[in-house]
Symmetry: C2
Subunit: 200 residues, 2 copies
């Protein structure tokens, strides 16, 4: 118990943030109240605004402020490419790479029948509608490099092959700056089998 119940409530509430325990929550609350009340105000306002406005894009299932998200609505993007990812965080990661200018489709999960996640929960029906459309030229499967991610990618590749659309999967191999000595054997074996020949 501290000297102020409102402060206690705030410390308690901040602990719902991921990776924030009692001590960090206390530090954050004291910092906000002591030194950055304007920042605290900004957080409260933007939280309320996000809670009110943010829902899922009806086209790609990513977060959006309106029916269609800013990426889907952007006419400057290449609508012949679609990249399939698992989560909105994956979209942010792809965007920050700056290497992709196509559209996305967010599964909001991966195939996992034991957890009750089937094709329906991942919105694959609405994805199929887009695949049937003639504008798409390539589907890039960017689900994660795990067993479930691979199965999900394979499933979607099978669907796409029905519409004879080209499909690809993100390359596996040694990460940038990776030293051979410290790379795990699974990654090394994938890097070897996926080796690229020099053009001559």
């Amino acid at each position: 118990m501290s000297s102020s119940p409102s402060l206690d409530t705030l410390i308690e509430a901040l602990q719902c943030l991921p990776g924030v325990g009692q001590k960090s929550a206390q530090r954050m609350a004291l910092y906000l109240i002591e030194r950055d009340r304007a920042g605290a105000q900004r957080i409260a306002v933007s939280l309320n605004q996000a809670l009110e406005k943010v829902s899922h894009c009806q086209q790609c299932r990513n977060f959006a402020d309106s029916d269609i998200c800013q990426i889907c609505a952007n006419s400057g993007r290449d609508d012949s490419l679609i990249c399939i990812v698992e989560t909105p965080a994956d979209v942010l990661a792809m965007e920050s790479s700056g290497a992709y200018r196509g559209l996305y489709f967010v599964l909001l999960g991966r195939l996992s029948p034991l957890d009750g996640l089937g094709p329906e929960q991942l919105g694959l029906e609405s994805l199929e509608v887009r695949l049937a459309d003639q504008t798409l030229k390539e589907v890039i499967l960017a689900t994660s490099a795990t067993v479930e991610g691979d199965i999900t990618a394979q499933f979607i590749a099978d669907v796409a092959s029905k519409y004879s659309i080209e499909t690809s999967r993100l390359a596996r191999g040694i990460p940038l700056g990776g030293e051979l000595e410290f790379v795990d054997s699974g990654t090394l074996s994938r890097a070897l089998s996926g080796r690229q020949h020099y053009d001559r």
Copy 2:
């Protein structure tokens, strides 16, 4: 840029939290919007409430919801003891030790003339009023174990001696669980000079 401007604003706002950068802010924002909207609501409400209600206690300068904080207002506490600390966080640390049941006085800083922090900024006038009062029996100086903390403690001890009130300073020495091998030489020298004799 993500797919939702409200989400971007939230990620931006969360970065004012101490120890939170771009990546953590993103993780927090996505977590709140995806999985814990009730938690997000609680944070927003408690932030607004804290901003509106929390000010400083007129008696001890700690945070309080009303004019007098909950610790000063608690009649169960020993009002013959006063513990002088630098920050509200120090009060929380003392309280969590559970070893102290007296009152506090929060300096909100330490003497540092170069930074413009003199006796006036630390509220030492109002502290002196309380020292002049006859109820106090002991002043416990719990400013930090730094040069500035020591000077601040010495200054307050001098003031208290005018009113012939007993003063004490938190013990210095080897921390609990500390291994001699890894204790720095300054601490070791203080622990030696402050050694306690066994009763026989």
